[in-house]
């Protein structure tokens, strides 16, 4: 039997080529992701460990107790502590590190980023960091930038930059070098400015040392040095070896890499699933085509089990071979992807990349590919054994490949699944927005998808009939294409379902993203019809400086500006978010489109509540909300419920009530609303003038906020499409493979058509139309499912979500499906047209 199987395989290798390709792609993605993640993790680790190699012992000041005065500033070591460490016999050298905030200004003289840059000292006897480019700062007027800050500000070595001192005065420095701070969390998100020690003490707020770096004396084991250092420092201080600290940083980084890996693996799973569909279809078609061959085997005495095992053996060989190839490609892909992409993920590209290929990714790739192939071949193999020997031999070529009717069982199963999915969906929509709702939507979508899978032949028949109607008007080519698609709806269904997976996911995402965009826009415009917002730069310790009153006064004096108001917000004892808008006319300046009531009614003793908060607190219109703070308590009547996602999410109170609760909280934001019809450019000038003296204030225009938001959504869309692109590519291979096998099967038919006078070009067009039809049906189904569940997911995730159909994107997907169909038909159609008529007519 083995020999027959292998001979069969050799004979059918051409037919399996695209299947092999599908397995290879799916496996390659899986293995590639794992290799990429491993390498990323290792590279993070190497990078971190690299910076810690130069430090034997690192000491951190004690964490402040919960009870201590928050005004005291971050904990630090004093000079005395450093001197004591230096005095130890186990220690050769020790350096104290100054660390705090030193806002770097951009070329416009405004602070860079939402958070002020960190300021730190570098160099000294025990220098943890080296310059990645240039050299470390030495002089009074020299500075080194973190690679992140340099990139954000567009600075390079040799540039002059301004940094604000603790008093807010700018000082100029020359950039001598760039430093890669790697994964040091205090720096990685906001960037840093590094000075020589003396300069740092002057430029960085706060006293003492945030870290002490120690080099152990010659011949002293690190552990002894750790114990010695710990002995002279505050006993609550955290003293550890450089190695240990590096490892903890690395494991945190590893966790990041793992999250990324998981996300990638999700996409890999989608690809593998799509590959499985493609493989399944190929085997199903091959079995159908080889019915006679197998019947002959049965006639000459092969047992049912032997035929079954033969098929599985074939799948095993194909699966193993393709998986091995896929694994190899995946390793290359992972490493190549890392080499290309590492720049964006791991900064500091000068760390040499160390390729990591472990056993797990290789085994996982082999296992996934082989198992998926075996499972996909199982049903076709079972079907093969059920062939009654004589039936198959007798069946005429004419009847081959013709199957009508979808089993009643399928329809019943499909209907049951649709009902279940619908029920879950209805349940979701009647419950609150939140993660449970999202999970339910996903579950409902999966159930629905299985239902679609069950009745897909019916769906194909229905959709093709509809789509086929205009196609038939186009003449013989169109008619034949429609008839060919309809002759084997099961095949067409499996081929298109693979594409449906990708189309559903992409459409779902774009529905959510466009709905989010529209919702945000609408709610911002309705509830926050402001043109500019001004806010203090965020501070890492949460203590933002209030906005100076002079800014508001200056803005108010401009004739271009119709209103200026501020916002104050705080959380009460029960973590209820309370806000108030001094200077704003509620209902005009902010808040509009209430769900219930009128926000204009808010005055002393009353409040408007965001929808989400209202449900959380269990209050409705006319009820009372109790708010409580250390300073007092108030009881307010709810006079309006507002949509939660438009900016007024918490409890909006009158200024009086807010002040009785939080007398000390100052203006967090300042909002500017221009007169109608004001030139945007003039307005910008007015606002810029008003904040010119306060470089740390952050200015954002509504347009900017919107475009920022759009950009984030677009980037996400590109990334997700890219990831799903592979699944879609595999699906296209699947359609191409189905076409190729059908073309082989229909050699005689093609020859007959050619004999009857169908030109080569029209034969090609016929097959192209067939493939386009299949992929279009798949895409339409995907768009329908994606729209439904994207809408449901949006509804369940956000309150008051407005639905927006991403018409342009959807048109794009459908156009892409047409192109995909044409591409899928390219090779099979060429082969069909090239086949000699007389040869095909003579063959049986």
């Amino acid at each position: 039997m083995l020999r027959t199987t292998l001979a069969g395989l050799r004979a059918h290798m051409g037919r399996l080529a695209t299947t092999v390709l599908a397995i290879v792609l799916g496996v390659a993605f899986t293995t590639g992701t794992l290799v990429f993640t491993d390498t990323l993790e290792r590279s993070f680790a190497t990078q971190v460990m690299g910076s810690m190699e130069r430090v034997d012992v690192i000491a951190f000041p004690p964490e402040p107790d919960a009870g201590t005065d928050p005004e005291a500033g971050p904990p630090s070591f004093g000079t005395a502590a450093l001197e004591e460490v230096r005095g130890l016999s186990e220690v050769t050298a020790a350096t104290g590190v100054v660390f705090g905030t030193a806002p770097l200004l951009d070329s416009d003289g405004r602070t860079l980023g939402a958070f002020p840059t960190a300021g730190t000292s570098v160099g000294g006897d025990v220098a943890r960091y080296e310059a990645a480019e240039g050299r470390l700062p030495e002089g009074d007027d020299e500075v080194a930038l973190s690679t992140l800050s340099a990139e954000q500000g567009g600075f390079t070595v040799g540039d002059t930059v301004s940094v604000l001192d603790p008093g807010g005065e700018p000082h100029d420095f020359t950039v001598t070098g760039l430093i890669e701070f790697g994964l040091e969390q205090s720096v990685s998100y906001r960037g840093a400015v590094a000075f020589a020690f003396g300069t740092a003490e002057r430029m960085v707020e706060g006293d003492g040392f945030a870290e002490i770096h120690v080099r152990a004396a010659e011949g002293v084991p690190v552990e002894r040095a750790v114990t010695a250092v710990a002995g002279v420092l505050d006993e609550a201080a955290d003293v550890r070896s450089g190695q240990e600290h590096g490892e903890s940083l690395a494991s945190a980084a590893g966790a990041d890499a793992a999250i990324m890996g998981t996300a990638l693996l999700l996409f890999a799973a989608v690809s593998v699933f799509v590959s499985a569909l493609v493989i399944h279809n190929t085997f199903a078609i091959l079995v159908a085509q080889r019915q006679r061959e197998m019947a002959l085997l049965r006639c000459v005495g092969a047992l049912r089990g032997q035929v079954f095992r033969g098929m599985l053996l074939e799948a095993l060989v194909v699966g193993l071979a393709a998986s091995a190839l896929g694994t190899a490609v995946g390793v290359g892909l992972g490493l190549g992807g890392f080499a290309l992409g590492s720049e964006y993920v791991v900064s500091g590209t000068d760390t040499p990349i160390e390729p990591v290929v472990e056993a797990v990714p290789v085994l996982a790739g082999l296992l996934v590919g082989t198992l998926v192939t075996l499972v996909s071949a199982l049903v076709p193999a079972l079907r093969a054994t059920r062939v009654a020997p004589l039936d198959a031999l007798r069946s005429s070529a004419v009847a081959d490949g013709l199957e009508k009717g979808v089993g009643r069982a399928r329809v019943a199963v499909g209907a049951a699944l649709f009902l279940a999915s619908g029920a879950v969906l209805a349940l979701t929509l009647s419950t609150e927005a939140g993660t449970t709702g999202m999970a339910l939507v996903v579950a409902s979508a999966m159930v629905c998808f299985v239902g679609v899978l069950a009745v897909s032949p019916l769906l194909v028949r229905g959709t093709v009939r509809v789509l086929g109607w205009p196609l038939r008007r186009l003449g013989a080519v169109g008619s034949l294409a429609v008839d060919n698609t309809l002759r084997s709806p099961k095949r067409a269904a499996t081929a298109m379902i693979a594409l449906t997976v990708g189309a559903t996911l992409i459409t779902g995402y774009s529905v959510i993203s466009s709905s989010m965009r529209v919702t945000m826009d609408a709610q911002l415009a309705e509830q926050f019809p402001v043109d500019y917002s001004i806010s203090p730069q965020l501070s890492p310790d949460g203590e933002e400086a209030p906005i100076p009153d002079s800014v508001a006064a200056e803005l108010e004096s401009s004739p271009l500006i119709s209103s200026v108001f501020t916002s104050r917000s705080a959380s009460d004892e029960n973590q209820v978010f309370v806000e108030t808008y001094p200077g704003a006319e509620l209902g005009t300046d902010i808040g509009n489109g209430e769900v219930e009531g009128d926000i204009g009614d808010v005055g002393a003793g009353s409040a408007a509540v965001g929808a989400g908060t209202a449900t959380e607190l269990g209050v409705g219109l006319g009820d009372r909300v109790e708010l409580e703070s250390a300073e007092g308590r108030v009881s307010l009547t709810v006079v309006a419920i507002v949509p939660g996602s438009g900016g007024l999410s918490g409890v909006t109170t009158s200024v009086t009530d807010f002040e009785s609760l939080f007398p000390e909280v100052g203006a967090g934001y300042l909002y500017v609303r221009a007169q109608d019809g004001t030139d945007l450019k003039e307005l910008t000038e007015v606002v810029d003038d008003a904040v010119a003296d306060h470089p740390t204030l952050q200015v954002a225009s509504a347009a900017e906020i919107r475009s920022e938001f759009d950009r984030v959504l677009e980037t996400m869309f590109l990334v997700i499409s890219g990831m799903l692109g592979l699944a879609i590519l595999i699906a296209v291979f699947g359609i191409s493979n189905t076409m190729a096998l059908s073309v082989l099967e229909r050699r005689r038919e093609s020859a007959l058509l050619r004999a009857l006078g169908l030109s080569k070009a029209r034969l090609r067009r016929m097959l192209g139309a067939e493939a386009v039809l299949v992929s279009l049906v798949g895409a339409i189904l995907g768009v329908a499912l994606g729209t439904l569940f994207g809408w449901a997911a949006g509804r369940s995730a956000f309150d008051g979500m407005l639905f927006a159909l991403p018409a342009v994107e959807i048109a794009g997907f459908l156009a892409a499906a047409v192109v995909a169909g044409l591409l899928a038909a390219l090779m099979p159609a060429r082969r069909a047209a090239r086949t000699s008529i007389t040869g095909a007519l003579a063959s049986e």
Binding site: V398, L402, L486, R487, E749, G757
Partner: protein, 255 residues
Amino acid sequence: MHQTSASVRTDPPQEPPAVVVRALTKVYSSGGSSVRALDGVDVEFARGAFTAIMGPSGSGKSTLMHCMAGLDTATSGSVRLGRTDLTTLTDKQLTLLRRDRIGFVFQSFNLLPMLTAEQNILLPAQIARRRVDPERLAHVVGVVGLDDRLDHLPSRLSGGQQQRVAVARALLGSPEVVYADEPTGNLDSRTGAEILAFLRDSARTMEQTVVMVTHDPVAASYADRVVFLRDGRLVDDLAAPTAQTVLDRLVGLEA
């Protein structure tokens, strides 16, 4: 009427033949070896006549038919259909010629399985975007006796019924010539006889030129004339054949 020359004219001089073949040679060469499937064939087929081509297996019957039908290209020599020389045509022109001027009936696999009998009959017209005269369709369908089977798929038709559909399809467009390669090869003798009768009657009543390849002397006896091939050459030509005269010639050929 007992003629042995291959190039004897049998048609009246005032009516030019439908198909004229001159010095037709077809050499199949694969690798080192080459087969002369046709070796200088000269033959003419009269308009409105039903002619059978016979000969031992491998004698070149199918090859000759394929070359005359524009399905295959000859190595040398010429084939004329009416005024058109097939050997000078491009693939595209040959396709159009087959579509508009030639009809086919093959031994098997004549029909597209996903089309009904009627759709199969109308297929060439649909491909050519030709309008079909409903009366002509009704007539042809009536002649082959398919009226009550028109909406059946081929899988629900018997072999004989399938061949009738193929014959109807070939006759519908009134092509200049209908080629049939062993049209009754897969049928029992009674069903075969029906098909042959249709072919003969259509030649008589509709002035349809029909050229048929067959192995069967009885089938050949339905024709007006039989030409014999051996080793790629035309070796005999028999007018008004009967099964017995054909058999006699065949025996003579094989000897």
